[in-house]
Assembly symmetry: C2
Homo-oligomer: 318 residues x 2
């Protein structure tokens, strides 16, 4: 008899899920098309039967709970609220619907918060009580752990560091405002910086031969590794903006570590070296040398499922 | 028999202290010159005997603990570290010294953190689990409460929102950096803004007749109440910068309330009205309408002693 939880990651296109034991071992995994279920009730039924299939495929497993990472998830209410990339409109009481379906505790938070819980339970933050994880993908998500606990805040939506205003009247953000951190410090932000630099600088660059719509942070990283001046400057600028966001987070909660995760963090030293340098330069003297900037200890491919599973285990232990 | 704690506020010039019961009633108060004791051991002895004097003056009191608010206080270590305005140099283990002297638990944090604890225990935040208090004086101090607990962070120095960078290469700050929130949003920041506006605008203003070194936030407030254009614009600008700092704090911890406290907050509507307007304009849509901007519920004169006492009571309840 082995106890497991279901870790579920709901994305705009697909939903991935897995059965995860207490040690963070993923025993079995599955995938479901999110877009195939425009009615949330149908999605709930499909997810439930898919998880049951996984359980049948393994011997002696007992499902104890489900954790869900989803966009715009409200931890306090167990709802998904006004998620622009999902077909389910308005405020969707997904945790309640799921609990009724599987008759087990279901908890829910957004993917960056889930990543923080995964890092704390199964990753590089097992012994770190105060840290922040920044997920650098299309946008910049964040999960904040203080005193070993995730910060949800009054609304359940705390930890939106991607929307820290760092440049007055800066780049337009998807949130309708301007100058948000994620418009500079994310995979998309890096690409926007390249476009800007191509307009300012005159150097030749292979990046000039790629249509802007096809430019990715990986291609910029490849160019940077080939010593392309534009790409290198773009990484340096991105790192400086990210460092500014990090420095403004350090004065808030004084973490022991900042973990960088996601597509842009894969660039390794290209990003980490200048970020560390700029944080050290810009941080308030009282915090200098007190914070490590580290890569996540969890494999990108498993992070979403492990994070959601960590949430489920955490709730069970309460 | 009535149980009390000693609430102590150490300032650069004077130290004030009082005996405070569980309901936040100050039964007796005293004052000590901080500068008269350049050796910390002498200060400890003097404070101890002064508190004993207070106790003797009241019947049937039992002292249970001491809480101290002090500049650059490290809660975790019970030390005062590199405080520029105190004669005691280096890292001073004040809590330990005091504990040995009075043989009771002694805890310590900085004055803004103490203000937050006072607000939570005795003030307007009794039923608010997630809030931030901003003390707007010479600088901008802050205390952050999440889930009912003060945020100390890994170092014990968390909650330095006055040093959030809000203007790149902006005004010089006492911390050695530039563009910190407190260089704009504090009593001193308001005065700096007036100086700047006097150089830019041509309007007549009674503020032109006051030497910059004698200009205070109160005088600016008086001019504003007389509809002086420069003073009104200075308050508007200060409110806008403060709102930016508040908005960047809301995305972090999603508080239910932000309390404004201290000299500048005394300006009332002159400050609160534009701050509320700008916060509403600038805040990320997901948090719009979720945060109240409120005056502190504690009288300025009692805040320091009550805050330190609240810390002591909190520690006793652990």
């Amino acid at each position: 008899m082995r106890e497991v939880v279901a870790g579920v990651d709901i994305g705009g296109t697909n939903t991935v899920f897995g059965l995860v034991d207490m040690d963070g071992m993923i025993l079995s995994e599955g995938k479901l098309s999110t877009v195939a279920y425009p009615k949330v009730e149908d999605f709930v039924a499909a997810l439930s039967s898919s998880v049951n299939e996984l359980l049948k495929g393994q011997k002696d497993l007992v499902l104890r709970a489900m954790g869900i990472g989803a966009p715009n998830a409200n931890y306090h209410k167990g709802t998904i609220e006004l998620a622009p990339n999902l077909a389910w409109k308005g405020v969707v009481p997904l945790a309640d619907l799921m609990t009724k379906e599987i008759n087990l505790p279901v908890s829910m938070t957004n993917d960056a918060n889930a990543a923080a819980m995964g890092e704390r339970r199964f990753g590089a933050a097992k012994y770190i009580r105060d840290f922040i994880i920044l997920t650098l993908g299309t946008g910049l998500g964040s999960g904040i752990i203080i005193n070993g606990e995730l910060v949800y805040g009054h609304t359940g939506f705390a930890g939106e560091l991607g929307h820290m205003t760092i440049v007055k009247d800066g780049r337009e953000c998807g949130c309708g405002r301007k100058g948000c951190l994620e418009t500079y410090a994310s995979a998309t932000g890096l690409v926007r910086t390249v476009s800007c630099l191509l307009s300012i600088r005159r150097e030749e660059s292979p990046l000039r031969d790629i249509p802007p719509s096809e430019l990715t942070s990986r291609k910029v990283a490849e160019a940077a590794l080939n010593n392309d001046a534009i790409a290198l400057e773009a990484f340096d600028y991105t790192a400086r903006m990210l460092a500014l966001g990090i420095v403004n987070s350090i004065i808030f909660s004084s973490p022991k570590a900042i973990f960088l995760f996601g597509g842009l963090a894969q660039a390794g030293d290209l990003l980490f070296k200048p970020v560390r340098k700029y944080v050290d330069e810009m941080v308030q003297p009282i915090f200098r040398g007190t914070v490590e900037i580290l890569p996540s200890g969890i494999q990108e491919a498993n992070a979403a499922v492990l994070g959601a599973a960590a949430l489920a285990w955490k709730e069970l232990s309460k």
